[in-house]
């Protein structure tokens, strides 16, 4: 099963190390392959460096593509992280 969804990044400082690590943590137990596309660049969401290299700022809309047996739950959890506002110090 493949799901593609456009998601707005709500975190104040964009997709920095913490949200990227949180996404990698979620995906550790998931079987689906997850890709983020932003400004024509597509990266594997399991890669922290990959997400960071996209340099995504607040309110940017990214395309999330999830494919696999647990696509629905994976998409739900990834979207939650992208919508979440991390506590910034």
């Amino acid at each position: 099963m493949k799901i593609v969804k456009k998601v707005k990044v709500k975190n104040k400082f964009g997709l920095h190390i913490r949200p990227a690590a949180a996404i990698a943590k979620i995906l550790q137990s998931k079987k689906s392959s997850v890709f983020f596309t932003y400004k024509n660049d597509t990266v594997n969401a399991r890669s922290v460096m990959g997400i960071l290299s996209l340099v995504i700022k607040k309110n940017s809309i990214i395309s999330v593509s999830v494919e696999g047996v647990d696509a629905e739950i994976t998409m739900k959890e990834v979207t939650e992280v992208l919508n979440k506002c991390f506590e910034e110090e």
Partner: protein, 320 residues
Amino acid sequence: MPQVKDLYNDFKEYLQLKLVTGKRGLCREIKKAEVHSPGLHLTGFSKHDLHSCIFVFGALEIEYLRELDKKKAIERLKNILSEFTPLVVVADNLPPPLSLRLVCKEKKISLFSTSKTTMAFLSRMFFLLHEWFAKTEVVHGTLVEVFGLGVLIQGESSIGKSETGLGLLEKGHRLISDDVVQIKKRGTSLIGFGPELTRYIMEIRGIGIINIAHLFGAVCVKTETTIELIVHLEKWNDSCFYDRVGLEEKKCNFLGIGVPLHILPIKPGRDIILLIETLALNHRLKATGHYSAKEFTEKLRRNIKNQKFNENREKSKSEK
């Protein structure tokens, strides 16, 4: 898309550019990888669409413009240059004629002069534009230069790509990029490099983010390399048959160019770093004309042939 100011700021010295007029045109985008000398178009021939092209005026064009009546020159220039023209360059250090300056000002086009000859400027521009507009692909993997050979290590997440890369660095090889590798086509070669932000940075599970250039020194890093080998790491699967002789060559395609692919199964006791070093050395050996597997097959074939010949000879002797 690159802007005129990117070209001006980054390659001012390489192209020997001097801004004459049209500061406001610096923000204009360069949309096409095309550079033209207006030549015939100055005579009024305008069947070919040259919008969005970069124009280079050489000695001949400038001479022709000077000889033309000012009004006519402006009219002809207006037919060629438009609000889509990114920039105009006058080569050979020639002073741009008034008509050209007026039209560039009106159309808000950046007008430059260069000390380079038309040919030298054109060749440098072609090279730059070719680089800028070259197709790029982003892949997941670790790119390391092993014995001077660009080896792209791929495989599923958490298979140990970064750890293998780290092991290779420890042995004196060079890191180009970890996790995110950008690939660009240059002629018939594939050039691999990392995004500026994550350059020389590695993320190792259990350690975190480390800077390779700081840890191992500048000798262990490189900005780009030609990708000549792909190594795909995968978990050992007993039901899968792995290459035992090396006679078949698998290829992986990036941007229309095939690169030799080797699948390396991971199992306790298999030293992946040593295996990758051996693969790289074997690849270099092949490039020098020595193909171990083929050479061995040939030797074996010769031996079998000789054996048959000897058998036949003995047979015929005994019959006699």
